[in-house]
Amino acid sequence: MRLALLFLGLALALVSPASADGTWAGLGPSVPKATGEPHPEGNAYMRRHHMQLMRHDRNLTVHDGDRDVGASLSECFECHAVEDGAGGYVTYESEQHFCRACHDFAAVKVDCFMCHRSTPEGFEEPPMHAFDATPEQDIQVTRSFLDHAFGPGKSDGGRTE
């Protein structure tokens, strides 16, 4: 985990000169643009410390009932929500999701959205792909993947005679 973060930090450091004109050169993750005022601490600080900020506050909130916290996950999405092009927002299921832009790049799995919602409050998230799929749909998806990988008709792993 620490190594991955280090790598992410290095990658961002390498890429940052290329982002001076506002575009990413393709070496690093493509970070979706946020709305609202920038963080006063600066982006570099937030990149490195966002988890520490939230981890501190989560214990204060859950155990001590302090709701007046500096960093809350739901607040992140007031600015860092990515629109899905249909008037809504993408959930963590989508590769377009703000958090996934960097975390996929660094191969770090985020567990926050096992429990927390990954879109702004009030938005009605669509049913989860994985949860709503029927077994037949799952088989179809697997078959089309195997067809694509090994060629049509070989999706049974070559076991048919």
Binding site: N59, H63, D66, M114, P127, A130
Partner: protein
């Protein structure tokens, strides 16, 4: 035949321990005067509780359950055995007279919660103001607490979740239960079930501070008889039932 009280080594150690706690506590108080006190925090001087007047609870009314679902975002998946139930209507029938009683049962927010005793990670805990919660950040989903709870108040989330309420994050592989709407209580509001019950006009539920003798709930408890569910277990729950 009475025996003189025995002071064991354990009791001696415990009394020593309390002296240390006092010292620490006074230190904490001093710090609190320094302005480091957390705002809106769980207050050890309070103990939140519910009083449910079973006579006023309409048999077919499920307003408290619907309100809880809306507020906390839990819902069923059509599987009665595994669906989450933070609050449920329980019907009791007196076999001798045929009289039926319906009442809501949820986490009873015990003073001595068995779910907290058995939790191997400390995820199941009691807040300073008596609200019993699950810290899902450290819950490993072992479900010991579900087995320990005599009220069947806790549920395990079997399915992946999405579209959760901001008020109550909930996820697959963790245990959950009534939070006494802790997010509302911290803002000075009353739980959603109590609000919904008042809105129906039944007014069967009262929420308040059990430690405050001037609160409505304390006055009612002092004036009229009430019971704790499974009083024989001596868990001293924060949820009390009248007219049962």
């Amino acid at each position: 035949m009475s025996q003189p009280p025995k002071i064991s080594r354990r009791d001696l150690l415990k009394s020593g321990g309390s002296a240390v706690t006092l010292t620490i506590a006074s230190g904490v108080t001093l710090m609190a005067f320094g302005g480091s006190e957390v705002q809106g925090a769980a207050d050890a001087g309070k103990r939140w509780g519910l009083l449910i007047d079973v006579n006023k609870c309409a048999k077919d009314c499920t307003a408290c359950i619907t309100a809880c679902q809306d507020e906390n975002g839990w819902k069923g998946h059509g599987n009665r055995e595994t669906d989450a139930q933070w609050i449920r209507k329980v019907t009791l029938k007196n076999k001798a007279t045929g009289h039926e009683t319906a009442m809501p049962v949820m986490c009873q927010h015990c003073e001595k919660p068995p779910c907290v005793d058995v939790c191997p990670t400390g995820a199941s805990f009691k807040r300073k103001d008596g609200i019993v919660l699950v810290d899902k950040h450290i819950c490993i989903g072992c479900r010991y607490c579900m087995m320990a709870c005599p009220f069947k108040a806790r549920s395990f989330v079997h399915e992946p979740t999405n579209n959760q309420s901001v008020n109550a994050p909930r996820g697959q592989g963790t245990v959950e239960s009534c939070t006494l709407c802790v997010h509302r209580v911290d803002k000075g509001q009353i739980p959603a079930c109590v609000e919904a019950c008042d809105a129906t006009g039944n007014g069967a539920m009262i929420f308040g501070d059990l430690k405050d003798p001037e609160s409505e709930i304390s006055k009612r408890l002092a004036e009229f008889p009430s019971v704790a569910l499974r009083g024989d277990l001596e868990l001293n729950p924060g949820v009390r039932y009248a007219e049962l």
